[in-house]
Symmetry: C2
Subunit: 333 residues, 2 copies
């Protein structure tokens, strides 16, 4: 790897040789409906709990990505995955029968960029094939972080709707596909946000920092990318991101930027308040819509920045702040 | 990296240039007392919660390891860390002000080997300096996984005592210190154990598999190592490990093996049932006692296998099994 500042670039960029983004019923009714590789009308996926449904969905995305790459689990050196559930249960049960050496990650909603980023560095180090993935599920997340659905809790306008979805990508050193030019592992950034109903505000400072640092390290500007895509800032976080970039560094993002959390739902008609969130938001949108657009030539260079709020319910109840982190991946065809 | 089977070996082995293992009061009263770099008599470490105390302890171990390596946080390319708390809160708060690009990991009690293993592969890929770490805390873990201390729940004989401790190691490509010869990322192994009071049984099958596979990949036997050290199987898990190794592959481990969970406490007098557990068990023992013994020449080649039970309280309450994972690192002076 070649590292400048905090940004790693590759002389021989790893290739995404297969990918799949899958989603639930509500996501399948949104604007990206046609691009998902599968839409599951039954949010339990025939499982006995929402948590196991999330695992089944992630497993499906992994197997579809492997199939697209023409690989089987036994070809894979490492699988890198994590999710929002306590002890990353979603990933553990998704991959436990695949018989692949497992690197468990925790990056909250930033996990799709973290798994891609670490996977790309391992390919650069000589691994032949890595699988990167992540998932989230509205129902398991509500139980985990807020209230069980049966409680019928009300949601503030800044709240985001955790995406029921999963994304997975197969990385190899050679082959046909979108290449990973650079990776930026983010630094935890804490502006003291304590409102568990406003993830956008907790994540925006980390997103701003990662985007700024990566642009500076690589001597690029927003205009050098066909799109800068954040994982799940939603409407509130996106507005804050634009303000921070403008205020701190005079960088204008509007017009160069899209947020997966605002792309995946119709914010006017789908009752999702500030938009989508969760690891599965950036994961499913990147691994379906965005990578397909890149393969079709509609986008040639994309900076994907997945953002995570390191929110633990225990920590929030104890009155602590919610630190944010954002990892960036430069994708190119 | 050179990979044979599932085991990665390095032509130019990364070096542990600094390390520190710190622990709490009870651990400081045990047999390894003298080797810890710090023993904290106050289990709250002056913090307002046990969870923040765990973070403070991990931060202390990281700063001590950096100091021992003659490094400051700004020299570090990546910090790799995780813990047992929901959403890895222990690590997030430990490192959030250190200003280092953060790779969050989740490997349950196997995290010390996972952070060392992935860190070593990133050094091999060209990173100059990585910090690997992990922590656990008896009081935060009891609240997380079992009952808050105030409840005064009774513990079965197979239960282990979560170690209040943290370990951290600094990895570089060159320098003086113990070298990481090989890394084996484990595969999740599930024998259907559902007893949350018997972590040793959940982890032993994964430990057996990792040790067997690594020995086979590297064409070595237990006698080729001065010690095979597991992270925290405790008395029950160790017995099961010996039985599995003997039954499935005819490998005798007794006499070649020690378990950090049985080394850190006096099992007869310290009322810890089957011994110690938690990420901080393998973490603190490796990064103090074992690495010191290696530097002193008392041990020259050690296979460190940290074992994790991928136990989520939600999952256990839903009646699911507890899958295990074990990651291995071959250390040599």
């Amino acid at each position: 790897m070649h590292k400048k500042g905090k940004t790693v670039s590759f002389a021989d960029p790893p290739v995404i040789t297969g990918h799949a983004g899958v989603a639930g019923k509500k996501e399948g009714e949104g604007p990206l409906s046609e691009d998902f590789d599968a839409v599951f009308a039954d949010t339990t996926m025939g499982q006995q709990s929402f948590e196991l449904a999330e695992s089944a969905m992630l497993r499906d995305a992994i197997l579809r990505a492997l199939s697209a790459a023409g690989k089987s689990p036994s070809d894979v050196d490492f699988i890198l995955s994590g999710d929002l559930l306590d002890q990353c249960m979603g990933s553990a049960f998704a991959i436990k029968d695949l018989d692949i050496p497992a690197i468990g990650l925790y990056g909250a909603c930033s996990t799709m960029a973290l798994s891609l980023g670490v996977g790309a560095m391992l390919i650069d180090a000589g691994a032949k094939c890595c699988v990167a993935g992540t998932s989230s599920h509205f129902c398991s997340s509500e139980r985990q972080f807020r209230f069980p659905l049966e409680y019928g809790g009300q949601r503030p306008p800044s709240a985001q709707w955790t995406v029921t979805g999963a994304g997975s990508a197969v990385l190899e050193s050679k082959g046909e596909g979108v290449r990973i030019r650079a990776v930026h592992i983010g630094t935890i950034t804490d502006y003291g946000i304590t409102d568990a109903g406003n993830m956008g505000a907790a994540m925006a400072p980390a997103a701003a920092r990662t985007i700024h640092d990566l642009l500076e390290d690589s001597a690029t500007t927003p205009a050098d990318y066909d799109q800068i895509v954040t994982g799940d800032l939603g409407a509130v976080g996106t507005k804050l991101l634009y303000q921070l970039m403008e205020r701190d560094w005079g960088i204008q993002l509007a017009g160069h930027h899209k947020d997966c959390g605002m792309m995946i739902y119709d914010l006017k008609s789908q009752d999702v308040n500030a938009g989508g969130s969760g690891c599965g938001c950036g994961g499913s949108v990147l691994c379906s819509h965005i990578l397909k657009k890149m393969e079709q030539g509609a986008l040639r260079k994309v900076l994907f920045v997945a953002t995570g709020a390191l929110m633990s319910p225990t920590s929030t109840k104890q009155g602590n702040s919610i630190p944010g982190v954002a990892h960036g991946v430069v994708l190119e065809v």
